[in-house]
């Protein structure tokens, strides 16, 4: 079967932390590199099929945005492979609109950067404007837009270009309810068309309503991956536990995490969360 659209194999993203700029220079010059390692993503493997809607959840700093950037090809992985069958489109709050240009100009600019031809852009432009619903503001510079308008325009561009794989990074949190509903409708339409959607959100309500699968990230690793009904309760349980932890326990937990992300701990070791109870 070739309906797998995203295959992520052993992907690791390592960043270097430097105490001062001179260390960065040393890192470039020395063949072995220099500086403290930081693993934002460690040995992640998973597969996604056509028509999957996958919610990526996890607490702050667990690597959700790094993963979404990796999938959409903005940053290259340090090791491992990401195999994509189809075009990817990333929707994020800061969706790369230029403040000085008008909405209309931004549409062309963004489409150009996504590699569309002149004719395609002409065809897509009215569709995008219609979806964004920002009226007369389309010919105003983007700096005059409200944050909701910006995200609507960004969202409109990203969905109208008809990607096969869609990555949504907390982009729906800015729009109002009606627009969010419209977006959810559009995404349900995509779901039926057999597109793969990654959905990153802190809003459990939206995740519950929309996603079928959950990828739970914990400090750069996959804690669990499976059907929404199975995983989401566990995650919510964990959140409750995490909230209930005393200061001491939280500190200990964070220390473990730091050790893990600096690559000193063997990947695969489970963090001791429940025993801390």
């Amino acid at each position: 079967m070739s309906n797998q659209t995203v295959i992520v194999r052993d992907v690791t993203k390592k960043y270097k932390m430097y105490k001062k700029p001179a260390e960065k220079l040393l890192d470039i010059i020395l063949p072995k590199g220099y500086g403290e390692d930081f693993y934002a993503i460690q040995n992640i493997s998973f597969e996604a099929n056509q028509g999957d809607v996958i919610g990526i959840v996890g607490v702050n700093g667990s690597g959700k945005s790094t993963l979404s950037n990796l999938i959409s090809g903005i940053i290259p992985p340090t090791s491992g492979t990401i195999e994509l069958n189809g075009e990817v489109s990333l929707i994020a709050i800061a969706s790369g609109l230029n403040n000085e240009l008008t909405g209309r100009e931004n549409i062309e600019l963004k489409c150009l950067m996504l590699g569309f031809s002149k004719q395609d852009i002409k065809r897509l432009e009215p569709e995008i404007i219609e979806f964004a619903e920002i009226g007369k503001f389309i010919d105003q510079p983007v700096k005059k837009y409200s944050s909701g308008m910006k995200s609507r325009l960004g969202f409109a561009i990203s969905v109208t270009v008809n990607p096969d794989i869609l990555v949504i990074d907390e982009a729906l949190s800015v729009g109002d309810q009606t627009f969010a509903d419209k977006c959810l409708d559009k995404m349900n339409e995509f779901k039926e068309q057999g597109k793969t959607i990654f959905f990153i959100s802190h809003s459990m309500g939206q995740v519950k309503k929309f996603c079928e699968k959950i990828l739970w990230l914990e400090y750069g690793e996959v804690r669990a991956y499976g059907p929404m009904k199975e995983i989401l309760p566990k995650y919510q349980e964990f959140l409750k536990e995490y909230k209930a932890m005393s200061k001491e326990e939280k500190k200990r937990f964070k220390q473990q995490v730091q050790l893990k992300q600096s690559g000193q701990n063997k990947p695969g070791d489970k963090l001791q969360t429940s025993s801390a109870k």
């Binding site: 960043y15 220079l25 470039i28 959409s72 090809g73 903005i74 940053i75 290259p76 990817v88 990333l90 790369g96 230029n98 000085e100 240009l101 100009e105 062309e108 600019l109 963004k110 150009l112 950067m113 996504l114 590699g115 031809s117 002149k118 510079p141």
Partner: protein, 274 residues
């Protein structure tokens, strides 16, 4: 060598993209000023006026340039040479910071990154061509710089200027993404080159030490500045000094090969260096 072809290929395949992006770049730059594009004329005019006062009137006491019989007033000599510098200098400065200031808005990895310096360079090139046309028109009302067949060389020298600036920007934009200090270094070098190129002062080969003559000749910018003068003041054809032409293109080729090798080798990691 392979990377050089790769970069060249990207430039050709993404030509339409490059042109559109450069138009937008130009628009973004002039959007906030009321006078808009007019500044592309006002700024150079003020600079030329100052240099003409200080160097032409002050230091040269109004003497004209050139050997007897082929004399050109300093003003025309200055303008026909400095015009291309108004392209070269900002193009190199902006070309060097092109990648690290823009990579964030380039949404995807399959965007041909080598197009970034070239569209930035092109956005500076258009106003310069307009300025050149304006000056050529003004020249028609003076005794020097009348239109002639020699003017036909201008496109050739424009191409030479773009080729040189682009090859150089490939190197500097890659390096400055990794180490920002490179940008500062480029800035000082450009300020120095302004005086090492015969733009403001007329070098007299007989009076200067040999090594300074060599530096002036070896400076590829001299070739372009002098070329613009040859064309606008009807002095010579570019094939009349073919040794210099050959040297110039050799120089550009070496820069281009080094630049594309560096660029292609490091471009996958540009985002990590931000």
């Amino acid at each position: 060598m392979i990377s050089a072809f790769k970069v060249l290929n990207e430039q050709i395949n993404s030509f339409y993209l490059m042109i559109r992006l450069s138009m937008y770049e130009l628009k973004i730059k002039n959007n906030n000023n009321y006078l808009g594009m007019l500044w592309e004329v006002i700024n150079p005019a003020i600079q030329v006026a100052v240099y003409w006062m200080v160097f032409g009137m002050g230091i040269r006491q109004g003497r004209s340039v050139g050997t007897a019989g082929h004399e050109v007033p300093f003003l025309q000599w200055l303008v026909s040479g400095i015009i291309v510098w108004f392209f070269i200098s900002p193009a190199i400065l902006n070309g060097s910071k092109a990648i690290y200031t823009r990579i964030k808005i380039i949404a995807k990895m399959n965007f041909p990154l080598s197009v970034i310096p070239s569209y930035v360079i092109f956005s500076i090139f258009y106003p310069n061509v307009m300025l050149l046309a304006l000056i050529a028109v003004i020249f028609q009302f003076t005794d020097h710089g009348k239109i002639s067949l020699y003017y036909l060389q201008l496109p050739y020298y424009m191409l030479a200027a773009i080729a040189l600036v682009f090859s150089l920007s490939l190197i500097t934009s890659t390096l400055s993404t990794i180490v920002r200090d490179v940008q500062m270094f480029v800035q000082s070098i450009m300020r120095m080159l302004f005086y090492v190129t015969p733009i403001l002062w007329v070098p007299d080969p007989k009076k200067l030490p040999e090594f300074i003559n060599l530096i002036l000749k070896g400076n590829p910018f001299s070739y372009i500045v002098e070329g613009y003068r040859d064309a606008m003041l009807s002095r010579a054809w570019f094939f009349e000094h073919w040794e210099h032409t050959l040297y110039f293109w050799g120089f550009v080729l070496v820069l281009f090969i080094i630049g594309s090798a560096l660029h292609v080798k490091l471009r996958n990691r540009f985002v990590d260096y931000l």
